[in-house]
Amino acid sequence: MQLLNKKPESLLDVKMHYCPGCGHGIIHRLVAEVMDELGIRARTIGVAPVGCAVFADTYFNCDMIQGPHGRGPAEATGIKRAKPGTIVFSYQGDGDLASIGMAEIVHAAIRSENITVIFVNNAIYGMTGGQMAPTTLMGQKATTCVDGRNAKQAGYPIKMCEMLATVDGATYLERTTVHNAPGVLKTKASLKKAFQNQIDGKGFSMVEVLSMCPTNWGTRLDNPSEATKFVAEGMLPVFPLGVYKDAQRN
């Protein structure tokens, strides 16, 4: 018998707490596979957010730090500057990165901090139970906008890749998805590039990954296949996939 696939060494064999149909498990695995393939596990430090991925510190098989909500890019900056020989990634959700941590992510990009950011955008607050996120779509229901997001009350969803593309210091920005198989494969390639950029000293790289939250997207979508449809039909038109920045750096 031939072993075709195994758990990556960079991911510990522990039970994850993520809900059925959630994208975090897929994205964790992709990050771990990339760490394995680049041979960087023994010198990588990951920064776990506040949000559903708070326990990422126990899942990845590398040194990890967990700190205040939204401050991942600042923590990553401190680690990278103090220990330039390490590979540092910050793993953040949409509330963490695009709401409370907006200043930290923008300024990490402005400084072209040589770090890798994995931004999981599922358009909702998961850990706290389904409140409106900065990336919640227009009309999308959440526990703090029960009739759906409306512009007068809550403005419009923020498009982080588009915004950060205006920042000179941002080196590489790409939006991908994990709602289907081609998306998963593409995401892995993008993550690999984002880590390779750091190894090559090219500066700030971020991959925004569109992901599913069947639990908090409301009853209609409370099953994984409906949730993937919401990504395809609801999120993709608002958050188009693609490379938003790929700057040449020496």
């Binding site: 010198r43 990890m64 730090i65 401050r71 600042a74 923590e75 900056t77 401190g78 680690i79 220990k83």
Partner: protein, 362 residues
């Protein structure tokens, strides 16, 4: 002895931190501590360290949280409003047992207040400041030489017991110049043993996690109680104070930092006029030297607490005296300067006119 150098308090604190092995600094401009990030920005690269001007105090403390997690001696500094912003990060550092070092050059508050030297952050510094059950090791210098030398002790205590430490200075100490003497040998960080919790290149050892949470039932209780044991050790071993002319004194001034300097002037004035006055100066504000105050209270008739705040440290003194001596307060909030004359008059009132005690005056 080497040639004495005239230095600003803020510069002395910065140089003192570097000589104590500090190799990472993140900060954000705020008066009256701007000389610290300015100094660090050119001095740290000279010793192979890193400086980052952060986008905010919030970010700065979290950069230090990250750097501190790698076991590097690191520092941030700010002044009162900025220290308020850093409280979240300080709480996380306390909760993650990280030995980070913070300089607070206090100014008048609350709110934007003013930029003059004040002592209104005593409660914030000694009570934790951020959320949760924790302590911070707090030292209060009263001279530029102490500004230069206290970072050494702060790093030592921080790393030995794994908790954040702070030098609590004020705008006057930050801005004034005095001849400075560096008393400790310079520390080369490459000679220090890397802590067994530090994140970094792991050479396939077991992974390490720096975190402040534990969602298991009773988990945080265990974490905090483990920390409390270390707090008790610090109280027993690291409490520092200074006494001046208390042997024959009928009245003891109690003051820290710049207020204690004014008290020395007041003490000289009072002694010239025949009042027997001494000074008790807490140097560590946490741990507070309460045991020594308890001893002193057995023979000292009067205590007069002098502080440039509405009366914050007086509560620690009150707890220590526990009614054994008469306690008085001379307090001036809002970063207004206390003069030796005013303190003398307050003492004269107590001794000759039986001024009301602190508890009664409230």
């Amino acid at each position: 002895m080497a040639e004495k150098k005239l230095m600003k308090g803020n510069e002395a604190l910065s140089e003192g931190a570097i000589r104590a092995g500090c190799r990472f600094f993140a900060g954000y401009p705020i008066t009256p501590q701007n000389e610290i990030p300015e100094y660090m920005s050119w001095r740290l690269p000279q010793v192979g360290g890193a400086f980052v001007q952060a986008e905010s105090e919030v970010s700065a403390i979290n950069m230090v949280y990250g750097a501190g997690a790698t076991g590097v001696r690191c520092m941030t500094s700010s002044s009162s409003p900025g220290i308020s912003l850093k409280q979240e990060g300080i709480s996380y550092a306390a909760g993650a047992d990280l030995p980070i070092f913070i300089g607070n050059v206090m100014r008048g508050g609350p709110g934007l207040g003013n930029i003059a030297g004040a002592q209104g952050d005593y409660w914030q510094a000694t009570r934790g400041g951020g959320h949760g059950d924790y302590r911070t090791f707090v030292m209060a210098p009263n001279s530029v030489t102490e500004m230069a030398n206290f970072p050494h002790k702060c790093f030592e205590v921080s790393f030995k017991y794994r908790l954040p430490s702070m030098v609590l200075a004020d705008g006057i100490l930050g801005q004034m110049m005095e001849p400075v003497e560096f008393k400790h040998p310079e520390i080369d960080p490459s000679t220090l043993t890397e802590p067994d919790w530090a994140l970094g290149v792991n050479n396939n050892r077991a992974k390490r996690i720096v975190k402040s949470y534990d969602l298991k039932e009773g988990g945080v209780e265990i974490m905090v109680n483990e920390r409390v044991k270390r707090y008790r050790q610090i109280e027993a071993a690291e409490t520092i104070y200074e006494e001046k002319m208390l042997e024959d004194a009928e009245i003891a001034l109690v003051a820290y930092g710049i207020s204690a300097r004014v008290c020395v002037a007041a003490m000289k004035l009072a002694r010239e006029k025949g009042l027997k006055v001494g000074l008790f100066r807490p140097i560590t504000l946490w741990p507070f030297p309460k045991a020594r105050l308890v001893e002193l209270s057995k023979k000292m008739k009067h205590f007069l607490v002098v502080e440039m705040s509405l009366g914050q440290m007086v509560e620690d003194v009150q707890l220590a005296l526990n009614g054994r001596s008469q306690l008085h307060l001379y307090a001036k909030p809002g970063a207004s300067v206390i003069t030796a004359d005013e303190i003398y008059k307050a003492m004269d009132n107590i001794v000759k006119k039986g001024a009301k005690e602190y508890a009664a005056a409230k």
